[in-house]
Symmetry: C2
């Protein structure tokens, strides 16, 4: 299997495995499977099966496999420290998977770190040494490549961009508690899941908005896409929510670009890609706040590798 | 001169040169000189003289010299892009100095980058691969070592921590324009020079505060130390100013530690070291805002190398 590497992207509901060309980043074979049982042993079985699907009987000839996990990982030990969406805490997933597939070394990383590495090697950040990658989806996370190296932090938990603290701008916005337990995380005001939750709360309390009509009165159907649609049709409430989200996200992104001076800021995730009007507000706030000197040779770009970024990046992890 | 390296710290008013032991970081010889004329040619003369003072006739045997400059530098070209306090823009200081001292290669870096490198090699960050260094003095700047490497950014202007944008908390605080021309930079509310300016403006407009008494009515004598003294004696106005500065600084620091996950946050500079009551407020805000997961194995420490950090770090630059 010369020139080929194996990667896994372990999400909250799906495991993907892929055989990737090391020199081009191309996916040669891929297999995707839903997780019905999230216990570590069951997930090991699913991932080992997916790896066999893509590598066949050659699986045992690989001496290493990269895995991106939707949680905090300690790459050096192969342990998942905390993965709330899998319900895991301190799971030695690397060694467990290694045993199940015949001994290959398993290199674990956070999924956003793997995505950042993939986008850096063969995506929107190709050819640049300093790249900051942020995904805005149901949650918010980031990965950072500096000086051509993936930065995972001293404790393996770098990239928690969703948990930087912000000061809401809109007078009506009350401080919000994040899923992590802390107050006023960026994610609590701007991620897809939290936007849905706060709009639902407001509408529950009787605020009038086109959002209510768009979901036919069924508030459980509210999501970021509905807010985007209402904003696009001029709804004043959706405008307030989107302007605040754009300002908070754009400012936080600008602050990291100001200090880190990357060549590329790469944005992806369902909310970013699915809500272009919000993305425009974020870009406007970003441009108004970023330090001029950090924008020389800089560009903000959309993620390029799509759903495969994580599995490609994982396969290429060093 | 085996095992010895030469460094220069070029500030707005002073140039320092030092001969440093590469293996211990110890300063073997140092020379400091005021800059009376800040023209590039005059500064080259002063620095070359200072280097001769510390290296003697061995100066020409050095093949490289590190220089930290109070401005934005492009290490790869040896140019100072912008140094407002020297009045420089696009000055090829590296090549100029190199010619003046017999051809040694000159490695330029921002002064905070040099300090970060020095503190990482032989100061409060010794033994750690990931260190964030922030200095709060008349201005605010930072330097970042990640994965054991100094991060200077893709354009050489990383570290502009003073220019992250913040949202003031105190209702009476008006948005402030920073010296860089932008609105609402962190520095505009919290650096020594800006604290003095905003307190002076408030007192000019008749606000009552113990600060006025402490300077004997001469508002030109206001500085951060006076605000610290008034805060220590319970002055309500100084308390508002210090609480806001502490909250803004502590939150911004927490956000970078949350995302970068360094092993050490190292704080220094005249305002930080000279205002321990403000420092306590900053620490409190920091601890309330930083992500829990980023604090495992983490510590916030005071800079250790004092005034020599810059020249030691410059000498050791790679």
């Amino acid at each position: 299997m010369n020139g080929k590497v194996l990667g896994v992207d372990l999400g909250a509901s799906t495991a993907r495995a892929a055989l990737v060309d090391r020199n081009t980043g191309e996916v040669i074979a891929a297999h995707k499977q839903l997780l019905s049982d999230r216990s570590p042993a069951a997930v090991v079985d699913v991932v080992a099966h997916a790896l066999r699907e893509v590598a066949g009987k050659d699986l045992e000839s690989f001496d290493r496999i990269g895995v991106g996990v939707c949680g905090q990982c300690l790459g050096s030990t192969g342990s998942v420290i905390l993965a709330p969406n899998l319900g895991w805490r301190d799971v030695p997933f690397g060694p467990m998977l290694s045993r199940a597939i015949g001994g290959a070394r398993v290199r674990l990383a956070n999924d956003l770190a793997a995505i950042a590495w993939g986008e850096n090697r063969f995506g929107a950040g190709k050819g640049f040494s300093d790249v900051f990658v942020v995904f805005v989806g149901s949650g918010i996370g980031s990965g950072l490549v500096l000086g051509g190296r993936l930065n995972e932090g001293s404790g393996g938990v770098a990239g928690e961009f969703g948990h930087v603290k912000v000061q809401p701008i809109r007078p009506a916005t009350r401080p919000r508690r994040c899923g992590c337990g802390a107050m006023s995380c960026l994610e609590a005001y701007t991620s897809g899941m939290n936007v849905a939750a706060r709009v639902r709360e407001d509408l529950d309390q009787g605020i009038s908005s086109l959002v209510r009509e768009l979901v036919g009165g069924d508030l459980s159907c509210i999501n970021a896409g509905v807010v985007e649609a209402a904003y696009g049709r001029g709804d004043p409430y959706a405008r307030e929510i989107w302007q605040e989200a754009g300002e908070l996200l754009g400012t936080a992104l600008a602050n990291f670009v100001t200090v880190l001076n990357p060549a590329r800021l790469i944005l992806g995730g369902g909310v970013w890609l699915g809500c272009p009007l919000l993305a425009t507000l974020v870009r406007e706030a970003f441009e108004g706040k970023v330090s001029r000197s950090a924008t020389l040779g800089f560009a903000l770009e959309n993620a390029f590798l799509g759903d495969e970024a994580g599995v490609i990046g994982a396969a290429l992890l060093e």
